[in-house]
Symmetry: C2
Subunit: 266 residues, 2 copies
């Protein structure tokens, strides 16, 4: 698997998508098609889609919208000419009334004329920018999943969508934390600047060493924990709302787009 | 005095300079000619000026150069058409071999053909930007002088100029601290982004409540101290180097330029 992944780091996004589409890869996409934007996927019936879009627009930090498909259409031309959202994600999760009913590698069998596909920005892009600027990411270096926490920060709710913001945490020494804020601020399309720094208790995090999702990242005595809004937020909010039907990407298995991370900088 | 100051808030920079030039004002310039860039002043003999310029360029955070005059010339046309650096600062400090020998309101009597005038960016500009973005500055609200500290951060030395970086501190709640970093980062010409946040001990500050200059600003339990490089740094470095002759502005009595703070944003 690692050899397969290594072989795909230098492939074009279209190449990697083709391989995924043919069923040749069903794993994590981190590091594939280096430098290209990857996105979180959410697919909802039209009667939920409008509300979800409003939810995203009023919560841009956890839910930065990169693209919205047309009703019933699997294409996302602004992200890549050939994209078919029914087959181009390595693995999906299918939910009915809030319960996961399948985790297929293709959703052609689940597609319906009333579905709308959303692609939201993901932390891979700003992490690329941080590494490119010479900053070190502990979870990447340790090969662990970034720690994520439910917070006491409420999202701006819509009629049926509400819930706490989930954040990811990366520890940095103070001067690097300032650089990380400056750099990620240039990427509002992929979560942008952090929402919090230091003082985990102030956003309802009781124990920094016990994340709600992902794995622990040690925070040294000379470091501050830096917290970014996380794409798990919309996923958790939609799951909690229990719409009759909902499809998301499988954690870590994102849609790989043709966009360059560098081109997202404002 | 306060009435006089209030009357000058809405005056043009050129108006305020004219009044200062005529000897009609010798106090602090904070709040005068609202929205205009104010600068720290340093005047050195030519045989020190080249080295001072190199020192500033290799330490841009504490020493952001806004303008350098020509040798022996009191004009600074890029900062204001009519500026005469010998008379347009409310009060000066004159040093000989590191000893202060006078604090006049005009330096015509001290001017020499070998002097070079420097104007460096000052925190008033980024504080304007922070306030304009709705952030609250404790020292301004309390009417105190911002607390400043000598740190363990060394400046990049030249042959004769060396010394620790001096920083100013403003306390903010974490989300506001992140905003303050983003906003001040847009103003590299006036100290730019902070150099440190949280953990005062990590930069050699033993007691946050005992600043080396200025007055204490309380840091609440829900706040982080945020540290910016300070224009006192070059002043302290030059004083310590004891050049035969050196003139600076009197603390708080800056040169008011025609530049708009807003125009400094990158």
């Amino acid at each position: 698997m690692d050899e397969l992944r290594a072989g795909m780091a230098d492939r074009s996004a279209a190449d990697v998508r083709r391989r995924i589409r043919r069923g040749g890869f069903a794993g994590q996409t981190s590091g594939l098609a280096a430098g290209k934007v990857q996105g979180n996927v959410a697919i909802l019936p039209a009667d939920w889609a409008d509300e979800f879009l409003r939810f995203c627009l009023q919560n841009p930090k956890p839910c930065p919208v990169l693209a919205v498909g047309r009703r019933g259409r699997p294409e996302l031309p602004s992200l890549g000419e050939d994209i078919d959202i029914r087959s181009d994600v390595p693995r999906y999760r299918v939910f009915e009334h809030g319960r996961e009913v399948a985790s297929p590698t293709d959703i052609a069998a689940y597609w319906r004329d009333d579905l709308v596909a959303f692609v939201l920005g993901c932390s891979f892009s700003f992490e690329w920018a941080l590494r490119d600027a010479g900053l070190r990411l502990r979870h990447t270096e340790r090969g662990t999943v970034v720690p994520m926490y439910r917070t006491s920060i409420a999202t701006h709710p819509t009629e049926r969508l509400a819930g706490p913001m989930v954040v990811s945490m990366r520890p940095f020494r103070p001067a690097d934390a300032i650089r990380a804020i400056q750099i990620s601020a240039r990427y509002p399309g992929v979560h942008g600047a952090p929402v919090h720094i230091g003082l985990p208790g102030a956003i309802g995090i009781a124990d920094i060493d016990r994340p709600d999702f992902g794995e622990r990242s040690e925070v040294g005595e000379d470091e501050l924990p830096v917290f970014w809004a996380c794409g798990v937020t919309p996923q958790a909010v939609v799951e909690a709302a229990r719409p009759p039907f909902f499809i998301s990407h499988f954690p870590g298995s994102m849609l790989i787009t043709d966009l360059d991370n560098a081109a997202l900088a404002v």
